[in-house]
Amino acid sequence: MPHYNNSSFQHFLDDASFQQWVLFPDVENAQYWKDHYQSHPEQQKTMDEARNFILSLRFKDDHPDSEVIERSLARALEIIKTKESASPIRKLKSKTRIPAFWWAAAALLPILFSVWFIVSNKSVDKELTETDAGPAQTTTSILPGTDRATLTLADGSMVVLDTADQQSIMGQQNVKLISANGQISYKATAQALKGDEMQFNKIVTPRGGQYKIELQDGTMVWLNAASSLRYPVAFTTNKREVELEGEGYFEVAHNAAKPFIVKLTDGTQVTVLGTYFNINSYTDEKSIKTTLIQGSVMIAQGGQQKMLRPGDQAVTGQDKFNVVHLANTDQIVAWKNGYFSFNDDNLESIMRQLSRWYNVEIAFPQGVPDVLFSGELDRNLKLEELLEVFSTMKINYQIENRKLIITP
């Protein structure tokens, strides 16, 4: 009959530290139990038996195949992406900004009665949600922008890119080009990086277009409407240089050996190592705004250089080079996530954005109404649907062909 001390066997069995040593040994508990084993020879047999017993309790391995794991991961990421770009957000708040002189005028002119109403409340925050009334039927509906761009290859030939087809544009400089679903990707073969003379491609988005580019090094660039990016097919030198016009959001692949530099038409250079940032450099905007989301960049313009930290925005322009810190960068990259985001923006600035995305001209025949707007709007609405929201705030509009006329 097996001879051992019953209670001591159970004692080892139930000891958490003993269990840990048997199943998941680490430096500490191994040392402790080894010492214990050696200094208690009379317990060795019991310890061995307890150890064997614990080790004998096993479970079947039911871990999933990697295929199953990857499928689940892909699905989860899809769901997350869908949830994050959210349903059409149609809340808009307007604030009428009241210039001082209206106080005086109000009492004199009865026509300004409605204005006086507002004036007495100083400023009015009206929160409005889109009604389900829907836009009036127009014969020419103005659709939002889509994934559209034109690609110019090194040899000068042009290719039209749109979501319709998956195109495989043949290897220039040993780099394969695949275009599908609003994105063009540059996949380099091993040969590609052998210091050949660099060839450049240029992508141009029209008004009403947007496109996404995956550069040869893995850097992702989202190009907004009416913009362009000129870049080498393969980054063969010790610098990665691209040229931007308009607006682009960059997620730069990390490569400490090759700094990534974005050159703008006014000579400003944005240097990065590996990072996420947005550059808004439309020529019809007052200044160029480079906003850093993550990582670090250095901006150089007109002989000055400044480093940015996440949340910083560099505002550059003629004789201007300031850095401000933004509490929230969501608004800056809203476009890339599919919506417009306004924060006390005036109508002019809002209409400029709409005109690029919807490819319409804007006219304010009676001057620009003095109102500020805050809120968010889905970028994928038809123009009429979007304007319906504004019209409930006493902004009137009329669409003639591709001209948007705004009146108070």
Binding site: Q10, L13, F59, K60, D61, D62, V68, I69, S72, L73
Partner: protein, 183 residues
């Protein structure tokens, strides 16, 4: 800061690549656990996926959770058990157990070839409750501490020690019989 902590911190900052890594690791573990209770893999995958998506959605609260791994393991476990229970109700089963049954087939007593896992041993395992089997699985296989197991099973630490101790004692009793019978 340990690497583990560093990874969780990256996730709370919104790093999708790191999230994907953790996703794969946890999904695999949850799946393995789930298979001890059901063969319906769709149920398991859904429960696991739900918990892991929730992890991402609440990533900015990660630092508030003492132990994110056991927390979301619990979330997945609750999802799965609720789904199994629902399935059982819809199937019209009477007398539903508190928690789904831990499959005895997934327990292997090493040293015994499957063929010779004797009737006595089977009986011994059947005599253990699902809770005991799961507690042993979580402690001995997953490596959770008694405190963590207690949290997941929603019982006191003391109760956890008792459950495991009793289970082991019972099994030992039976294996002892086996050894005796062999001689």
């Amino acid at each position: 800061m340990s690497i583990e902590q560093g990874l969780w911190q990256q996730i709370s900052k919104g790093n999708r690549e790191i999230y994907a890594l953790i996703y794969r690791k946890l999904f695999s573990r949850f799946y393995n656990h789930g298979r001890k209770f059901t063969t319906d893999v769709v149920l398991i995958e859904d429960a696991a996926q739900e918990a892991l998506i929730l992890l991402w959605e609440r990533r900015d609260k990660l630092s508030d959770i003492k132990n994110a791994e056991t927390y979301y393991y619990s979330v997945y476990r609750n999802n799965l058990f609720a789904a199994i229970r629902k399935q059982q109700i819809l199937a019209g089963e009477q007398e539903l157990p508190e928690t789904p049954e831990f499959s005895i087939e997934s327990v292997i007593i090493a040293g015994e070839s499957e063929a010779s896992q004797s009737a006595e041993l089977q009986a011994a395992l059947k005599a253990l409750t699902s809770r005991q089997l799961e507690a042993i699985f979580l402690r001995f296989y997953e490596g959770f501490s008694y405190e963590e197991v207690a949290e997941m099973l929603d019982i006191t630490v003391k109760a956890t020690y008792k459950i495991v101790a009793r289970a082991l004692a019972q099994l030992k009793e039976n294996m002892l019989m086996q050894l005796l019978l062999c001689f």
